[in-house]
Symmetry: C2
Subunit: 645 residues, 2 copies
């Protein structure tokens, strides 16, 4: 078919001109992408962030060249010149799709496995928002979510985690298209994979259809039918990798541009003469189908929203607030912090989370099956089930990675805010999705509790050591470790008003409120809890160790030694401060002691002396473990005395 041939041809021009890219799937998926955008997808390039557009995730981000070409034909802000700049510095067409760089892209993708979970998140958001806002005759939120994935995604476990939840929640407006070309970078898929994928997805409670070859009419019908399914759908399309290349069907065509001769011969086969040139027919085809369909539906929707606004002004106003990511912090502001109260920061977190969620019904979240330990339960809200999306709690199951990736998808959708909880030590499982969220600038809030060796009995597998360093090292990721209830309160305000991911690190053990923190101090990321201009040394601590530092301070006072104590809940927030402020807090590097009951990795930035835990923990009663690790008050006092001399 002429249009598909042109699409294939210019996509190959795009890759060959860049001398970099992945022709294999770009060729095998061209008919799929053509069908999806030309025949199915409902979106409008004049308002590319339209909340009710169909969403599309290219899970196999390496087929970006194909996506850019299709978006170009659709009328998004990608010109032929941009295609010629594919994979070049500063272009609108980077190596893998990036949501913040290019018009029409709904998700950054590339790291395999995370595309389907993000699509699951989008489909979940659609159902939730539809439940919140739709009225009879006014389906303000009513769209589909499509994802195109490949064999790699099917091998990654997180795809299975997310698909399993999609089946459990019956996200029937999720349609997964699987380009099954049976070849991976290293050779035939069968070298490592011999699953019956259809059967696996049936086990997840998906509607599964397998097409033995591509046929755009059949594919269109199949997708239309899948849209009517009462289950999420998987459409498996058997294709040939690099179809048309002399290396078709082999891994040689996966990730390297076609050579000159191969490109020439392919073009002859496709009946295309020019380079980087679409015929008027192609443009017209996409204009008449994709563009006008989108425009029509967009206008209809706009009209409906206008009526909705009149008929349901309260709901409309709330919808606007949701789309604007507004959060009402008044309940938090009213929450009084009481001196000397003893409460674990995970329990303080529960108070703040409930206060916040009670008056912000646009917040959804939950935990990876540790709600009762991380204290993420919402007392006044039910949990989301396949039959009822009214609740705010998502039971992600024991699927940490999928939780984070699904939340990325919910946030990409827009209209909702998210939180997700786990034990700090298991933040390891989420790392790839934390990074993606940071790269995309998504305001996911993570609640990681059991934040030190004070976990106790569960032992080294459950005691975090190096996790804080890992989290702090992620660019654009804010880690807040509050020292008491007051800091927890402000951590929540900071977390839910950011435009990047934020992790709040929570203790299992009680922490006493030894002082009342002020919001403006907290917001600076570090501030003095004890200060005397005559102090020779400073102790910088975070979380549970701030009280420990205060205790040491008091012991030293009895020795007639004055030290400053700094609470540093967030390196990220501290680093945003003026040089002057930072200097005022940090003082003399050689007289600064950092104190945190986790790895010292990274702390040398702030002080010469770093007291922490640099080996794996041990199983035992928390107080015994702390003593064994020399983090009891007497050991810390001794160690600091040795430093101060």
């Amino acid at each position: 078919m002429k249009m598909i041939n042109e699409l294939k041809s210019v996509t190959m021009d795009t890759i060959c001109n860049a001398k970099s890219g992945h022709p294999g799937m770009a060729l095998s998926s061209a008919p799929i992408m053509y069908t999806l955008y030309n025949k199915i997808i409902n979106a409008y390039p004049r308002d590319s962030k339209w909340i009710n557009r169909d969403r599309f995730v290219l899970a196999s981000g390496h087929a970006s060249s194909l996506l850019y070409n299709v978006l170009h034909l659709c009328g998004y802000n990608i010109g032929i010149d941009d295609l010629k700049e594919f994979r070049k510095l500063g272009s609108l067409t980077p190596g893998h799709p990036e949501v913040n760089e290019t018009d029409g892209i709904d998700a950054t993708s590339g790291p395999l496995g995370q595309g389907v979970p993000m699509a699951v998140g989008m489909a979940l958001a659609e159902k939730k928002l539809a439940t919140m806002f739709n009225k009879e005759g006014y389906e303000i939120i009513d769209h589909y979510t499509y994802v195109l994935c490949g064999d790699g995604d099917m091998q990654e476990g997180v795809t299975g985690e997310a698909a399993s939840l999609a089946g459990n929640l019956n996200l029937n407006k999720l349609i997964v298209l699987y380009d099954a070309n049976d070849v991976t970078l290293d050779g035939p898929l069968s070298n490592s994979f011999s699953e019956d994928v259809a059967k696996r997805f049936e086990a997840y409670k998906f509607n599964v259809v397998t097409l033995d070859k591509w046929d755009i009419e059949l594919l269109e019908k199949t997708i239309e039918k899948a849209k009517k399914s009462d289950k999420p759908s998987l459409i498996i399309i058997k294709t040939i990798i690099g179809e048309g290349s002399k290396y078709q069907g082999t891994c040689k065509v996966h990730g390297s541009p076609l050579d000159e001769e191969d490109l020439k011969e392919l073009k002859i086969k496709l009946g295309v003469k020019d380079s980087f040139n679409y015929s008027e027919d192609s443009y017209k085809d996409f204009y008449e189908h994709f563009y006008l369909r989108g425009k029509r539906n967009y206008s209809k929707w706009k009209k409906k929203v206008k009526e909705y606004k009149e008929k349901y002004p309260g709901e409309y106003e709330f919808l606007c607030r949701c789309l604007n990511n507004d959060i009402d912090f008044s309940s938090l502001d009213k929450c009084e912090i009481i001196l000397d109260k003893e409460i674990s920061s995970r329990n303080a977190s529960k108070i703040m989370l409930n206060l916040l969620c009670d008056c912000n019904r646009n917040i959804v979240g939950g935990s990876a099956d540790v709600a009762k330990s991380v204290m993420t339960s919402l007392d006044n809200s039910s949990f989301i089930t396949k039959d009822d999306f009214k609740g705010q709690t998502i039971n992600y199951g024991i699927r940490e990675f999928a939780m984070a990736s699904i939340n990325n998808g919910i946030l990409l959708h827009g209209g909702l805010k998210t939180f997700g909880g786990s034990f700090l030590v298991f933040s390891d499982y989420l790392k790839p999705a934390l990074r993606m969220g940071s790269l995309m600038g998504l305001n996911n809030v993570y609640l990681f509790s059991h934040d030190s060796i004070a976990v106790g009995e569960d032992g080294p597998t459950h005691q975090p050591v190096e996790q804080l360093a890992m989290l702090r090292s992620i660019p654009n990721f804010n880690v807040i470790r509050p020292s008491n209830e007051g800091e927890v309160k402000f951590a929540y305000k900071q977390a839910f008003s950011s435009d990047n991911p934020v992790a709040i690190i929570l203790s299992r053990q009680n922490l006493k409120t030894k002082y009342i923190v002020k919001e403006d101090e907290f917001k600076k990321g570090a501030y003095f809890v004890k200060y005397d201009k005559d102090s020779r040394y400073s102790i910088i601590a975070s979380g549970s160790e701030v009280n420990l530092a205060i205790d040491v301070y008091e012991m030293l006072l009895k020795d007639n030694i004055k030290v400053n104590v700094v609470s540093m809940p967030s390196w990220y927030m501290f680093e945003k401060q003026s040089k002057k402020y930072k200097k005022s807090i940090l003082g003399n590097y050689n007289k600064t002691i950092t104190l945190e009951m986790l790895s010292t990795f990274g702390w040398s930035k702030y002080g010469k002396y770093n007291i922490g835990v640099n080996s794996f923990g041990v199983s035992g009663k928390a107080s015994d473990v702390i003593k064994y690790m020399k983090f009891d008050i007497n050991s810390i006092y001794d160690e600091i005395k040795k430093i101060i001399k």
Copy 2:
């Protein structure tokens, strides 16, 4: 049944006495564990590391109390007193099973999902070693691998990744027992999970049997039958969580000890009066079944090995070397390093890896489908398939996490050494298994290539920034980033002779051999490449930035400024050196500049000035990206000049 009742009773004593632990699965799995150890498992407590024993992994590590009780009955070195010390500091019975702490434990477990992959690794090792050593009539390696898992494991994606590979490789001596008690920490499993697990595992090509309730005779028969299957087996056993407790069947019994009344009533139901007391019948039962069976088989095996030694002395000697983890480095030692040669460290790695694997057939490994990019292909060895385990290459598929976890299992089995490759940026996916390997002290070798923003076109999703910091922060984990071919060679020697995990970090781009490194210098983790006692400043660099530092050194020389240049391939190795040596290298903190084209996170430990990349990368030609990120030679020169003034 009396024995099981006693097992349940003392297991509950164990938990209640500790006031900590997980009764839910300990009760639901008691009949399964009884059957498995009493009737099936072939092992011998007098030689608990016997290479041909059946392996057992308690994937649901939180049921440790039950495992300790069974091991006690079996005659392992766990006394009643040790059970009374459950979860106490320094006891033989920590909160979760730990392979290096307790007799009879085959794997550390607890973090959900990683049990099945470790068992897959063990089963793979068994097949590989059997292929290497068995002769007709002399099945020296011939055992089964069992794993007991729960609902949590089934939700974690990595279980699916590993099971899929087990199906592909047809690891028919792997038997997965699944205690399907349908309840998780947060409530009924159905809240987040409604899969047909049997169907899913059939899709993976498993032999699947479902037992609707526990029945030890039926279970024994089912396992015996599964042993004869030509596929890996999944036996699903429908149980009741906390069976016998007043909270049975609910999440209340998952993770908190029974209260006094509940324990008392349970004991009445079980017909057990005493605490911490097994009857003679129980001991006799395990002695006659488990112990004597093991002893008998062990003696037979010993006799066979004696004959094998005589008949096949060469093979026997090689077997001993394998079990001893001996590696022959002679081929590496002979490898000459040539000055001025330009080669990427990933290509240098390929040379060393092949040299090493050619003369050490006990090394197995591969990559997560990036063999041609990370250069992990072995030229003289085939890859392992379900029909042929002669090769050394494992095609793990696009399953990074499972790769690392499976390799942990292979190493736990013993007899083999492993390597696993991926892009550095995707080390994120492996993190939970890297941590477990470090905790267990397993000598897994990781090859992570494409080690900086110099990845270029693939863009920020594929450009590592914070990954080195993440890896370096893991306790007991050695990260080596070699600067040239000579350092790659010694990195291999170090890596394969360690008793902990080692990652070798490799460049995509060429690196020139500007000097010949000496092994004793390299082994110190950091050494001078350029040194003059009159130098005021030092530049510490790793990997590709060592040459950059040398270039800057030469530019500065022209300005009549002398600086020292330190190559620091490994922080881990450097930290093991004497204080004196470290001081000699580090010199003056305030005059030290560190240089690495990745996050500076952590580098402040070694110098005041840290030059690196602290934001996500961008897509573009490598040289353009490097310039944009101000890591070209001129920008670095300018920056260093500014510091030196």
